[in-house]
Symmetry: D2
Subunit: 347 residues, 4 copies
């Protein structure tokens, strides 16, 4: 076996950070050599996350003190508008970057600036970034120096739509609705009131109905696959009282003589990370808990010309850290499943 690559993680105290640490611990080809956190610099990873006691012998460092430029690849698990400042310098030094934040997801800079409310400081890198939806951009990811890992909602919604859009099977001028439900970890590990146990627990609500940052991201993906569909896309996210998990219920209209189950099954036949379930089944979020999987089922609405597509992921794995590792595997020519063998934890 060859030497493991050196991996750095910027912003490793959040949920996607600790999930990266969990997954990379089981990865045969990597050595995590630097983890950064402004707030926790000097603290041992194993003290901060007791779940990692005995697994890592690393200490959080300030980003400027960490030898990130000695890494083969650096993951950014930071809030938006952090990576865009530090990525160009790393790229110049030949370090590859996998950004889990939103900074390089949108190709259109004004759109990004509108939705994220700030000026983009490295627009050039945006042009070179590859959108890391692995099942869509596999070949481009192989050559990528910078990957923008898709958001959780975009992953959950785009994977089932991808084969249908690619074959141009959606009807134009009909609404395409994604009614999505997310676990609370999607809101990150920040002390905001709305994420408290006593606020999010035993409660259910929609949010961002008037506009959510993942809307333009999904539209960009749709637009790249079939024209005249993205404008009809409607997206309503909801917060559901669970820790991990995301569920999309998608209502769509298909052109006549389309068999969506067949199209999806063929497209994902050899995919280890997308599971097209039998017709009539309904995937539950826990069936992918902890795993880099998207499970999808398709059925026709009773007596209607509308199709209902159900899609589930673990928002922290296939919707974030797992997909990031999958991207790394593709970029470095590793077995695509390396480090991603975790069987879902049930119950």
């Amino acid at each position: 076996m060859t030497n493991p690559i050196k991996v750095g993680i910027v912003g490793a105290t959040g949920y996607t950070g600790v999930e990266l640490l969990r997954l990379l611990a089981a990865h045969p080809n990597v050595d995590v050599t630097a983890v950064t956190s402004r707030g926790e610099a000097g603290v041992a990873v194993a003290d901060y996350f007791p779940s990692l006691r005995g697994v890592y012998d690393l200490v959080f460092q300030k980003p400027e003190d960490a030898a990130l430029d000695q890494c083969d690849v650096v993951f950014f698990a930071t809030p938006h508008a952090v990576a865009m400042k530090d990525v160009p310098a790393l790229l110049e030094k030949g370090v590859r970057v996998i950004d889990l934040s939103a900074d390089y997801r949108l190709k259109d800079i004004p759109t990004w600036e509108k939705w994220y409310g700030t000026t983009h400081t490295s627009p050039k890198a945006v042009a070179d970034a590859v959108y890391g939806l692995c099942e869509m951009n596999h070949d481009a990811i192989k050559e990528a120096r910078l990957v923008a890992v898709p958001g959780c909602y975009p992953t959950c919604v785009s994977l089932p739509l991808l084969p249908l859009l690619k074959e141009g099977r959606l009807k134009e001028n009909y609404p395409l609705i994604a009614d999505c439900k997310s676990g609370v970890s999607g809101a990150g590990r920040k002390g905001n009131i709305g994420s408290l146990f006593c606020e999010a627990g035993d409660n259910f609500k929609a949010y961002g109905v008037g506009g959510h940052r993942h809307l333009p991201e999904i539209r960009q993906t749709i637009n790249g696959l079939q024209s005249n569909i993205a404008d009809s896309f409607i997206f309503v996210p909801h917060l559901t009282p669970m820790i991990r998990g995301m569920h999309a219920t998608i209502y769509l209209h298909l052109k006549p003589d389309t068999d969506p189950h067949d199209i999806l099954s063929r497209f994902y036949k050899n995919s280890p990370f997308v599971d097209v379930m039998p017709s009539g089944s309904a995937p539950e979020t826990r069936s992918v808990r902890g795993a880099n999987l998207c499970r999808i089922s398709v059925q026709r609405a009773p007596e209607q010309d509308v199709w209902i597509v159900l899609s589930v992921i673990d928002n922290l794995v296939k919707g974030a850290a797992g997909q990031a590792v999958q991207n790394m595997n593709i970029m470095f020519g590793f077995d695509e499943q390396a480090g991603l063998g975790c069987v879902p934890l049930l119950p």
Copy 2:
């Protein structure tokens, strides 16, 4: 003050039964005189439900031993196909009946028999039963001898649609979608695996996508209000890991120049049990926890000709026991809010 009426509850060990007991304990005009349970006959209510210690001094009886015919009104909080056997005899003796089960909700007997999988044994009573959606059938309820309390999903979906359908504002031939999410108490207090803490907890899933018993019930209501709409109605229920609460996300197309917020606000202006919230808001289920309330908000999908209506209820209160008490209040000429003053419990 006049004498309180005598109230009986059949099947009082389930969640709607114990919720009726909670609400009726605070009701100034009633005296619960009989509670029945086949399984727990002989057990004191306060021993079975310690939350009611000091509140009730009653013992569960077998239905045949309870003096139900001495009651002024009897609530049936039973599984389907129980009430239809016992109700006719009670009606004949002049006892009024409020049925929380599904037995008298559907006017079309073959439809009922198809969805509930058994022969209806008192079809005549069906014809006389009033569908107890109070905000729709207020006058008929006043005179009713038998009320069929609507199901929880039908209540949550019908209340926001009612004013729009009544004014004929929905566009024909467009999908009308209700993506609904229910807390686990909606499944009842039965030992089925799917309702276990370790199955329903930290999990989210759709169910009944291919057909749910509340679908024909909602269609019947739609049909009675605006024609040519019910056939386009799509209903997908989901199970969400909370105890109480139900959330409907409704996607609808309206005729030009329709202001749904205005229509709903006017319709429910004087209603103590339906709260139309300001535009742009999103109701959360806990804002009605324990209360006989439906909160609704309306907004347009960004850049689309589709409206999104959000509606929440406590499935055990406005979706069951609370609405049952509201029906009783109307039937007996009590203050409609009697016994229903509970301020929502938050957090």
Copy 3:
């Protein structure tokens, strides 16, 4: 009926504040005239807490803008070290004060200063304050101008011990252990990481094993009732993934020929707020959810000379806002149960 009294609430955006608002809404003798919040001044209560839409027509004010001195009584639902600054001026103006914070609970100023880490600014008021454990200090509360509402743990632990200590039945020199478990709302409505849904959910842990602020408070109560016991008192609090509720498991040694069930039953025979359950039963926290109740059961450890006492409260009601209202009722000569009639919400 006489005119309602005027009530003010300082710090009404926390969990004890909103719980006070819920309880006082149903109180026949009060009129809430002022609610304060530094952070939310200018916001309507009904906008901030949609659960209170239609219930209150009040706007949060800065404390200095609110006419607190026009109130008959002011509740402080603030973090510690706030009330002690503002209370003396209110008392001087003849306003009675019920403080839900810790500022006036400990009679010994150095002890308070040690545990709360700051200088006490109104030690004189401490001397006049009555410790508001209603079942212990009923008569003193009647005359009180300032009541210090007990902490949640002290309430849950002291109520079952009170009758036994009062009769001097505990054995000296034996450990007296209170292993306590609290729902997350006990940590307040603050954005601290440990209270997040994804941190506190699906998790259980002890905390404060090396010392918790409620330890000296419970010791003070014990000391006032039976000597030579407080020093043997051990207190270990735990955080449990539920919203409301507190459970104490108390291990104690009693002098020979003591029947603790009999002593508790006699002591609380006429108490509407303390329920001594039959021997052998085990109270569950949800049996008091939303209600101003403490339920207690007692049993002997199998084959041992150790007694196990189980005690549950809703930490926000009998452990905070409900007990505060009970104190108010006693202070103003109202029916002690006024506003406290809520039947526990189950499930």
Copy 4:
């Protein structure tokens, strides 16, 4: 690498069964060849547990149809009183057995019969069975033909006590109290009312205070290590609203000049499955979620001569399936950590 051994699982539809399947899927030395279930015979494992789609290509069989006697080892994940009927025949055929049920845990047959309420049908096998607390009986397990996997509570309580008892450090005639809290999965995957989401959720209670089947099991372990201590052992289990996880809070008295942290640290220095944490820390259950780990911390009660020991496990892993696999590894001379490398899932 040598050929994998053949493994059978009896009663594989419960929580310990599906957890065994999860762990064994990642085990390099085993091939699961038979899984049985009376109720689900004929159903594919991957259909019954969608979390295992793509992982297993097995069908549940009736026990009598499964070629269990062709297995090298058979796990029993059954309710009590099942294994004792089928185990002797398997042992005779040279099949080794690892029983996760209670049938072979208690050496004293009358005690077993008293607590489990039935006659033991294979008392001879009891004599040969090795109690599979790996950290205590490592050498005996190597040679065992039949292992009785300890219960979850006994594992969580015994591991921290083991080094102290072994060195005879507990004081006689002082109470030894284990106040334990379990997640709901400990109650199994059965449709009993008490395990429903709406019963166990948002709720906390003690149970089995008057006697729990794990009491004699723990006493047996204590008795085997230090005399005159078991009779003072008190055990109170509680149910806490989480899926996985178990927490023991143990109160004990030690002989003078005992440093329990030092004793535990030395004893478990080289153990991969027991983590003695720094003094002053408090382990949380989620820090071991999904992992075969017990984390322990020790501290002295403030100003007292009582020690507080905190211990956490995942009840389904170190408390059941994980410990069962660890036993198998020891029995068959595999790497003791094989299949048990799962890093805890946090959050």
